[in-house]
């Protein structure tokens, strides 16, 4: 594995601490505001608990991403890249473009790749730092003037996101049957397992819904998504040896 410089670990620790501080600052302000407008403490506590539990499983692939990238650029750089805005697929593409997605890349190539990875992803945060306040003020004005229109826009964006992801998963899964795809990071996706995982997640959510409505077990509502994610991944884990 490529050795990482101590200064990069130090920078990584500062960045991770900044992100935690930023999150705590927003959390503190939101909790204060929730109290000020009289929100039910139970609802707020539930949101915290729920989001913490929900976030555990989807975080694991990010750690795997660090593991995949570390063979090319060492441990510290992927840690930083995947702690901030980066995502594995994008980082691997950036590495490939700079010629660093190979074991044994030299320091000039790695330096070039780190520059590419860094400058490619800063447009989103720059937009937020410069224009977001104005944009959000316009959105709030629209919300106040025409709530129906604003709700239609929000619904359209959310609906579009769900439609885009689900269509990609379903059609990609169907066309991937008997035709596994290996991406640049070396991860192989089997269409069969994608569809089985998707179906398992839907079925488990349905079962939780039945337990909630028929069995009147209200507690399960908060855990429905974590249960369906974990259960569906367990099913995927069982099927990997079958198709691999």
């Amino acid at each position: 594995m490529v050795e990482s410089f101590a200064i990069i670990y130090v920078l990584g620790a500062i960045i991770a601490a900044t992100i935690i501080l930023m999150s705590l600052a927003f959390l503190f302000k939101a909790l204060k505001r929730a109290k000020a407008i009289g929100m039910d403490k139970k609802v707020v506590t539930e949101a915290i608990k729920n989001s913490a539990i929900f976030s555990i499983v989807p975080s694991i692939p990010i750690v795997i991403g660090v593991g995949i990238m570390m063979q090319f650029v060492g441990l510290a750089i992927p840690w930083i890249r995947l702690t901030v805005i980066g995502a594995l697929q994008y980082e691997i593409l950036a590495l490939s473009n700079a010629g660093a997605a190979v074991i044994g890349a030299d320091e000039v190539t790695i330096a070039t790749a780190v520059v590419v990875m860094t400058i490619s992803i800063i447009s989103g945060p720059l937009f937020n730092a410069i224009f977001y306040k104005k944009y959000q003020t316009k959105l709030l004005e629209l919300q106040q003037k025409n709530e129906r229109k604003m709700n239609a826009i929000t619904g359209a964006l959310l609906g579009g996101m769900l439609a885009g992801i689900m269509s990609s998963l379903i059609v990609g899964g169907i066309f991937g049957i008997g035709n596994p795809v290996t991406d640049a990071s070396g991860i192989t996706t089997y269409g069969e397992i994608t569809l089985i995982t998707l179906a398992a997640s839907v079925v488990l959510t349905g079962i939780c819904g039945v337990i909630l409505l028929v069995g009147k077990q209200k507690w399960i509502e908060s855990y429905t998504l974590p249960i369906s994610i974990l259960g569906a991944l367990a099913v995927a884990f069982l099927f990997v040896p079958v198709f691999a």
Binding site: F5, I8, L11, I20, L21, M22, S23, F26, A30, K35, A36, A47, I48, N50, S55, I56, V57, P58, I62, V63, M70, I77, W79, T83, V84, I85, A87, A98, E107, T109, I122, G124, P125, N128, A129, K133, Q136, R148, A152, T154, A156, G159, G160, M161, L162, A163, M166, S167, S168, I170, V171, I193, T197, S201, L225, S228, I229, A236, V240, A244
Partner: protein, 231 residues
């Protein structure tokens, strides 16, 4: 309210919003500076300079991601809320982690769309999610440093299935509420994906591409339905 009066609790929604913007901008600039220091620190520590020729050749890639970043920041903003937007675009993994975490918390909390309660729950869930993820990644460095690629080999095979595991359940939970908004773009996206795969460019229709395609199609269909008074 004074701009720097950040420690007091705002008495109005607007005041609270201004505080969130102030915090968000400060932390975004600080994070951007730190992120940009990484390549500089690497070059100094390694005693090298980037290969400018390769860097120049990568500019089309960079430009492409600048456009994607701007589209994402623009289109996710109404869904994430003020605090969530600033946090999500520093910590990343918006579509596969931060937004689902926020939507799940909103569904459980049963908050009204566009309300201040929705905004607060979204900020809380994304802040908690960011803390959990940052800690898990940091803790994950220990087994990675010890076992190196062995641990990756064990977990790697199931990593492509996290997104279907999340979105199967999440779509079920949201479908009743957003059925009208999802139905038409979903059918159109399916057609695009099928045709794209049949024509041999299925690999270009990744989830991130299809999110943008889905949002555009959904926007068009919603405008038509809105004008017809169907929503």
């Amino acid at each position: 309210m004074k701009k720097f009066d950040i420690l007091t609790t705002a008495t109005t929604r607007e005041g609270h919003n201004n505080q969130m913007h102030f915090l968000g901008r400060c932390f975004t600039w600080a994070s951007l500076i730190l992120i940009c220091l990484v390549p500089i620190a690497y070059c100094i520590a390694a005693g090298v300079m980037p290969d400018w020729k390769t860097l120049g050749a990568c500019m089309s890639f960079v430009a492409g991601y600048w456009v994607i970043g701007l589209i994402e920041a623009f289109s996710y903003a109404p869904l994430l809320g003020t605090g969530g937007q600033y946090l999500s675009f520093i910590t990343g993994n918006v579509a596969n982690l931060k937004l689902p975490a926020s939507l799940n918390a909103q569904t459980v909390a049963k908050v009204e769309q566009g309300s201040e309660e929705q905004e607060i729950i979204s900020t809380i869930s994304i802040a908690v999610s960011s803390i959990v993820t940052t800690i898990i990644i940091a803790i994950g460095l220990i087994p990675l440093a010890i076992f190196q690629t062995e641990i990756v080999e064990v977990l790697k095979p199931i990593s492509p299935y996290v997104v279907p595991a999340i979105f199967g359940g999440l779509t079920m939970a949201l479908l009743a509420k957003y059925f009208k908004a999802v139905a038409i773009p979903f059918v159109l996206c399916i057609i695009i994906c099928v045709v794209g795969n049949l024509l041999g460019f299925g690999s270009s229709l990744s989830q991130s591409t299809m999110i943008i395609v889905g949002m555009v199609l959904s926007g068009i269909s919603t405008v038509i339905m809105y004008k017809l008074g169907k929503i």
